[in-house]
Symmetry: none
Subunit: 306 residues, 5 copies
């Protein structure tokens, strides 16, 4: 299995050994160590949606230490959060699980049709906190996309020089897109491509629907007969769209939902060759034992396809 | 033929030997080495138009390594792409073909009447990746033109000091122009002039039509009898407009089209004294063998007029 | 005559000897050397109006080397142009004539009621290209004036520290003014004052008309009986408005016109105590011999009043 | 066992989580993972003593990749070497074993009674190469000690801010000491104290002899009855001298010697509460299988006392 | 043959693609292109020994352009010289042959038993002059070695980040060594090791004699039976000492001598697996045709063993 990790690392030939070290750290941690698959626990919902919406369903989640421990106990590859949550447990959990410092975040007290997150952390923060990677969200489709891309460019350059991996949440949203179009297959594939072109090492997108948003794209999907019927088909197309599979692409879990629904989706992602999942609300909005059980089932699905 | 390269380099007397080295590298590479003509493979369409629209017609093109190899196998002078595509193959292909790092790019998930690309790479990136040049797009006619010109100014200054060549895509577009006017002869000539005045070493424009967009220009074209009937005439006028032929001006191929149509256009460009072509979709949206065949035919046309 | 140059330099007591050296270089060059009068050749019209409108009437003017040679052959004090034109001949003509690098420029592919040029060059560019001065355009009356004034401030500070002279094109234009008001006497005088207050060493304005634009100004012009009947009167008033004659103020020639008309205007400027002219289109849109002849006649007029 | 690692980390309360992560990485790697004991492979002898003296006995050791693999195969906690050796394998071995970049080194082509190493690497090198720590040698007793202490101070400050651990080789040597005094118990204990006071996280000293070098010290050792008879006594005293056991102190193996002699010494160190060993020549100057066997026996001794 | 170049580049895994590009440029230039062997023309003797001693034997060599042309005409892989010589021809020869800017140099007007060169150029100079590499001399054995190593460290870090290769002249000399010892086998091997540990990409040493300088080394050479009888043996040992052959090591030609003697030495180097030669005085202190003939014979010897 270690060969699979080496194979994946070989795709990042322009990166220095420091970046490779941190990519390896994430891929050699937890239940999926060595498989080239990843399940990451992200907890930025407190910032993004507010505390009650995020943590009231499972109140221990108000505590930042809870999530570090959850990620470890469940066997996740990494734990991702904004500055405050990472700082709150970084000493106790130093080196016990790779962390990803989310360097930008949006709150919901001001909403805009064209979202643009605030920059809430730095590469130096990530170094002093012992993180493996920095995380950054872009919203392709927003009128502020250029500001996000440009800031990511500068941050990624600094992170890579310091040996940190770069994880990009690529979430189409904004005035350029319909609401449904945000998760349409053409837009999702495009979002993965944009993140890859911006130099992301790990790309996070949402599981795409069979909808096609842009007319110019529809013509090609139809004329070339691109298969998008099943989730597996669509995931496969997204992976292809991220440098023909030469970049790690993982999929978000979205809002909390029933276990069956989650597992059905994971199977589709796994069958399509997805590199893994980043599952927040479906993990920490359950009781700890249920969350762990679900995460482990998810990991088993990825393991079976590795 | 080498004398032609020396003659061209003599036009860049304010540039340091590092810039001249990289201009020479591009002009001494591939099938057209030494002729002073250039055919460059650009692959930024994944970012600009999305992955499916760009690569579905010839699926190997999803893979970034494909394009490096295509450019080499076809005998191109250089390969141009955004950060992610360049990074993905820079180690394997280091020094095997001159590369041009596109430092700004637009995606199509948000469209604006007044376009403005995001900055997606840096001069330091170009140095660490071993590039020969940086590439930059300006949209004269956009309300954001000043931001683009100003950013280009700063980037070009830094690039030139570090010995990198500066290639400018000058694409009129935006609120100041009609749709047809974007490729009108007066606007195309003006776009070439602007790029030259901004200090570009290599200028890329679109093949111009016989339309005249601006009334103030029309008066002069008519009173002075500027010949714009044939593509060769118009290309000749654009070249003249770029410092009377003392700057390298190459022409884009535009959307994929039939071979005959492509070759017809290339003949016009070559007859008008154009320095070459930058052909993306017409190269990589064909099968590899067809793409190479077409590129080689194009190169032969330029060779015949060198 | 040398005493007049010393006298002029004595007005710039806060500037360092480097700036004085460059002011002296301009005043000791060409036909008007030592007279304290200046005739400068500016060629930024390729950028500002487009190549055909600028150079088709006299096609050799497409070539950047033409203008360097024209300025030298005609005996001009200096040659001013944007980055590309200066770079294109700076090596061959290094030290043969003082050059002024225009650091901001507007093109005509996007027009706005409130103009604001792009920054297209730097003080470091001016140093590496061996220029005597930097040039900068402000548009008093535009809603973007503060951006222009602020950028000029920073650039002038840097230029002066490096010993470069600062030449300011002060062209009232924008939402704050009527079209005719742009060249009204009160506005022209005000524009000269603004440039002087911003720290310009040499100020370029347009020859003013007898119109008064602003009511608040009219009251004073009338109550104080300020003489504005003849061009000489008005030029005299503009000079007075630029620190009572303690700043070099020169006048632009505007669009190409008949020789008689040009000379009539020059006589007015000279009679009013103007320090000289900056004549572009009237110089290079004639044949070279006609352009030189006209420039020499203009210089003779200034010489006669020196 | 993990509790012991947490206990050790609790001593470093002024360090940021990044440093703790890297200390943990080293303590959770290899055969001794989790015991709080460490065996490190250092290979700077090529620089310090020359290649033949270092590698001729076991010629595969000329190859930098050999040592990475040896450290991994033997189950070491970390591998330490100068820039060249680390660079030569950092890509292949990225993240497979913690590395310590030695930032200063001495060669033996110029010898001085008062040694002072050259600075041969940087904190930025350590980051780009993915190292866990930087290493630095001080020679207390040398007339150049202040230069070494001062440089270490600056480097350690930078390393700690970036989350890197600081490993200090504290080797008394120089005009202030007799040859035998370099390893005397009072001097060794003092050397450990100096390194701890300079902010080292991990301190490397030589196993001390029962000699007392300084008269002022002898009085106290005698009056207070400090036990120094056995190596275990002396190691215990050195550990006490490094903040009463609140700093990690490891012991060097010195020149290659017989297996029995090595193991005898290790037993003394382990009995005295030493945190481990840093064994170079005794590891790589044997055949690979013998080296691994010896290292594993050494580790077992530490494990037994953990 | 290209595979050999790829194999060599694979040793430099911690370097960015920019460095690999420049190493490839040198290895793909001239008669030995693609063989992995190199013959470099160095001309720093004007600075090091004075002009008459360097150039009087073949007076055209006073002209800096002579050496550029000699290197090209002879089919060398690169040309190395101090700032002045490189500057003097960099424009005319830009991109026609890889250049190595020597960043430190010693003159002979002040001699010291412990030599230390002056720093005479910068990484920025190398970029603006379009060089492939920077060159730097260290004198192991000098009391000033630490200053040289430390300066090289900083320069190499900067050069590598900018994509320039680092060529180190490692010439043992100074108070720590006897005169004969400078070229003794143990010292030469040690000098190669030091340069490699300092991060050199290409290492230049002198062909070693069978002498052993240091007693500590002699014991090992004798006990391990290291073969040093023939020049080929000794070269082989030096190559082994530079990371077991994983660094490019080339050999200097030394003072001008008879053709037979030169070729005899080259055969020894080639037989021992040397990567090539850097031949100055034996090249330019002959007539141009003799110099070229000798260089080509040398290249043929290397080609035969490639």
């Amino acid at each position: 299995m270690a060969n699979r990790v080496d194979e994946i690392l070989s795709w990042y030939g322009s990166d220095n050994p420091g970046v490779l070290k941190n990519l390896r750290w994430m891929m050699e941690t937890g239940t999926l160590a060595g498989t080239g698959k990843m399940v990451i626990l992200p907890v930025d919902q407190g910032f993004e949606h507010g505390p009650a919406r995020s943590f009231a369903k499972n109140a221990p989640g108000y505590d930042p230490l809870y999530h570090y421990q959850l990620a470890i106990d469940a066997g996740c590859n990494a734990y991702a959060a904004p500055l405050g949550f990472i700082e709150a447990g970084a000493r106790q959990f130093a080196g016990r699980i790779p962390t990803i410092l989310k360097l930008n975040n949006s709150d919901s007290l001001y909403s805009s049709d064209d979202p643009c997150p605030a920059i809430t952390g730095s590469v130096d923060d990530a170094l002093r906190l012992g993180c493996a990677a920095i995380g950054y969200t872009i919203y392709p489709g927003s009128s502020h996309r250029n500001e996000m891309y440009g800031d990511l460019r500068a941050i990624a350059e600094e992170a890579k020089a310091a040996g940190l991996a770069v994880v990009v949440w690529s979430y189409p949203r904004g005035g350029g897109l319909s609401k449904d179009g945000e998760t349409s297959i053409d837009v999702a594939a495009y979002a993965a491509q944009i993140a890859a072109q911006l130099g992301a090492h790990v790309i996070k997108v949402k599981p795409p629907t069979a909808l096609i948003e842009q007319d110019a794209a529809r013509k090609v999907y139809e004329s070339e007969g691109i298969k998008i019927d099943t989730l597996a088909d669509r995931v496969s197309h997204v992976i292809q769209s991220a440098f023909d599979g030469r970049r790690i692409v993982i999929f978000s879990g979205g809002a909390a939902k029933g276990e069956d629904e989650v597992l059905e989706e994971i199977k589709g992602i796994a069958d399509g060759g997805g590199f893994g999942s980043i599952m927040g609300r479906n993990s920490f909005q359950r009781s700890k034992s249920d969350g762990i059980k679900l995460l482990q089932t998810v990991m088993q699905i990825y393991k079976d396809t590795a």
